[in-house]
Symmetry: C2
C-alpha cells in the first residue's frame, strides 16, 4: 500500500493507495480515531458493485448507508439538503464520520454535506473511479451544481483520509477509465517528465481494458497502482502549496479552460470530462507551440500518448467561434483576462493571459473545428 | 478608531471599531484591495435606517444591494440559494466582495453565501447590532437554519474585515441593546475581571438607552466604543486559539448550554438570545457555586450586574424537568456527555462534564422553575 501525505498544517491527511484494501478500512479508521459513528454516502450502482466489500471492512463499526440517485444531475442543493435531513434523522453528531463512497459526483456531494453539516464534520474519500482516485477525491474541493453552472455552490473542505482501492477500477467501463487517464497524462505534462515517460512506456497496459483479462491483470495491477499513487503524489504536492486555488493550483487547470467550454457547449453529452480535457490539452500545447514556448516534438508526444490511450485529440462539430466566445464566461477569468496554462516542455507549464482569440480560433480550426 | 487583529495565519483579519465610520468604508476597502465588485446583502429595515450612509461610504465603488426579508425565519437554505441565484445573475466572480450589512441573521446568511459561492469568495462583516458587533460578526461562524435545528447547515469561513460602527446602535430598541449586553457580560466572566469591573462601574451608561439623550450621548459613546472593542478583543483572542470550536472556543458557550435549551423550549418567543444567555449564565454560576468552584460573592456580582442592565436572572413558566431533558439533544454534547462551562471566579471558567441532572434541576427550581 502506498501512503502519500497532503501537507496542509492542521488539515494534513494521508492518501492510501492499494489493491484490495477496502476490507482493511475499519482497522485504519480505528487507528485514526475516526470510527465513532459512520455514515456512508453512495449510489445504488456502487453499493451493488462494491458495497459488500466496504461493509465487510466496516464490520464492528456502527454505520448507516445513505444512497442518493446516480448521476451528475443529482449533484444539487436539493439532494444535499435531503442528505442533511437524513443525518439529522439519524442524530449524526459533530463527531460522526461521513464516508464518501463512489466517483467524483458522490465525492463532491458527500464532501459538501460534510463541509456544511453542523459547520463541518469529518469525512473521508473512498473513490471508486480512476478520475476520482487521481483527481476529484484529493484536495478538498466540494460542491454541488447550480442551474447556471457546475460546482457553483461549494467549499474547500479537506477530508481526513483518501482511501483508493484500485480493485474498484475493475468494474469501470473502458470509457470511464480513459476519462481518468486524461488527468493522469495532465500530471505528467504539468509536473513530471519521468512520469510522462512511464505512461508512454506502459500505454499497452492502459489502452486495453486490462482488468478484463486475468493474464494481463497481474502485470497491469502494478502499473495501475503506480499511476494512481504517482498522480496522487503530484496533486497532493500542488494542493499543499495552494489549498484554495489562489495561485499555483491553477496549473491543475491545464487543458480545462477549453475543456470546460467544450463540455458546456456539447451539454456534457458528446464528450465526457477526460475527453474534453484531452482536447483542451492539445489546444493548449498547440497554442504554446504558436507562442514559441513548446517545440513540435513535445506536441507530437502529447498527441501520440493521448491517441494510444484512446482519447480524442480533435474537436468535431463545434464552430471555433462558439468556443472562443464561451471562454469569456469561464470561471477561470481573473480581472477580465482569460488565463491559459501552457506547457513549456513535457513536465513544466506556465500561466499566460496573452492568448489572442484569433490564435485560439486558428488552433481550433486546425483541430477540426468549423 | 480601534483596530483589533484576529490572528489566524493566512486567514487573519482586522476588526475596526469606531463612531461614524461607515462613510470611510470605501477608502478602507480600496486600501485593502477589496473594492473590485461589491454586493451588499442586507434587509429592508437596515437599508432604510443606515443604507444611505453605507452607500455614501461606497461612493465610486461599483456595488449592488441585495435585500432579503428581515427575520430569523428567512435564514434558511432557500433564501441562501436565492441570493446565489442573484449573484449568478449579476455575474459575481471569484474576486467579488460580499458585504454583510445587518445583524447576526444577515451576517450568518451572507457569510454562508460567501463561503459557498464558487467555493468561497471574500466577504466583510459590517454588523449593525450590538450582538453582532461583539459576537456574531467575529470568528467566521456562518450558517442557516434547518427545520430541525438552528445553524445546522453552515461552515467556518472567516471574513476579510469586521467593521463596526457604533453609531448604528443608536437605532436599536433597548431590548436589542440588552441582548448584546448579555454577551458583553459573558466576556468579562470568562476572560477578564477588569472588564467586568468596568461594566459594573459604567452600568448607568448601559442601562438607559444612552443614545436617545443627546446630553449623555457624548459620554456614553466612549463607553460603548470601549465595550465593543474590548469584547471584540476577547472574542478575537479566543477564536485565534481555536478557529473551529474544537476546544477552547467552547468557553464562549458560557451561559449558552442552558440558554439554548430555554430559547428552544420557549420557541424563541419568551426570551431573546441575550436574555436566555443571561439566565444560562446565572444557572452556570449557581451550579459552579454548588460544586464549590465559585464563591457566593461572585454569584451575587453576576446577578447584580445583569439586573442593573435589565436582563433576567430567573426563569419563569418552564418546568425544570423540560430544560434538563432538552439538554440531552443539545449540540454541545460530546461523546454522550453534556459539557458545562462553569466560572471559577469572575474572569476564569473551566469546562466540566460532571453536572448531574439533579443538581441542574435543583438550581433551576431555585431560580423560579416549576
Amino acid at each position: 500500500m502506498a501512503r502519500i501525505k497532503v501537507e496542509l498544517n492542521e488539515r494534513s491527511y494521508d492518501i492510501m493507495v492499494g489493491s484490495g484494501i477496502l476490507s482493511e478500512l475499519g482497522r485504519i479508521l480505528k487507528g485514526e480515531g475516526l470510527s465513532r459513528e459512520v455514515f456512508v454516502i453512495t449510489d445504488p450502482l456502487i453499493n451493488d458493485l462494491h458495497g459488500d466489500k466496504l461493509r465487510a471492512g466496516l464490520k464492528g463499526i456502527k454505520h448507516e448507508v445513505l444512497e442518493v440517485p446516480r448521476g451528475e444531475r443529482y449533484k444539487n442543493l436539493k439532494v444535499a439538503a435531503k442528505l442533511i435531513d437524513e443525518l439529522v434523522q439519524h442524530s449524526a453528531h459533530r463527531d460522526s464520520l461521513i464516508i464518501s463512497f463512489g466517483g467524483g459526483v458522490i465525492g463532491d456531494l458527500a464532501g459538501f454535506v460534510a463541509a456544511t453539516y453542523m459547520r463541518g464534520i469529518n469525512y473521508i474519500q473512498v473513490p471508486t473511479t480512476l478520475l476520482a482516485q487521481v483527481d476529484a477525491a484529493i484536495g478538498g474541493k466540494t460542491g454541488v451544481n447550480h442551474p447556471k453552472g457546475k460546482n457553483l455552490i461549494g467549499s474547500f473542505y479537506q477530508p481526513k483520509l483518501v482511501y483508493a482501492d484500485i480493485q474498484c477500477l475493475s468494474t469501470l467501463p473502458a470509457r470511464e477509465l480513459r476519462t481518468g487517464l486524461a488527468e493522469v497524462v495532465k500530471y505528467g505534462v504539468i509536473d513530471d517528465a519521468d512520469f510522462f515517460k512511464f505512461l508512454e512506456a506502459n500505454s499497452h497496459h492502459l489502452n486495453t481494458r486490462a482488468f478484463e483479462d486475468q493474464d494481463t491483470l497481474r502485470a497491469s495491477l502494478k502499473v495501475w497502482q503506480t499511476i494512481v499513487a504517482e498522480s496522487a503524489k503530484i496533486k497532493a504536492k500542488i494542493v499543499a502549496k495552494d489549498e484554495t486555488e489562489s495561485g499555483l493550483r491553477m496549473i491543475l487547470n491545464f487543458g480545462h479552460t477549453v475543456g470546460h467550454a467544450i463540455e458546456t457547449l456539447t451539454r456534457y453529452k458528446a464528450y465526457n470530462h477526460g475527453e474534453a480535457v484531452a482536447i483542451g490539452m492539445v489546444v493548449a500545447a498547440r497554442l504554446a507551440n504558436r507562442l514559441r514556448l513548446l517545440d513540435n516534438g513535445s506536441v507530437d508526444r502529447l498527441v501520440g500518448l493521448l491517441l494510444k490511450l484512446g482519447l480524442p485529440t480533435e474537436v468535431e462539430a463545434l464552430p471555433a467561434a462558439k468556443i472562443v466566445n464561451a471562454l469569456g464566461i469561464d470561471k477561470k477569468v481573473r480581472g477580465g483576462k482569460v488565463l491559459f496554462v501552457l506547457p513549456e516542455s513535457i513536465g513544466k507549464v506556465v500561466i499566460r493571459d496573452n492568448v489572442s482569440p484569433r490564435a485560439l480560433a486558428s488552433v481550433l480550426r486546425e483541430m477540426g473545428c468549423k
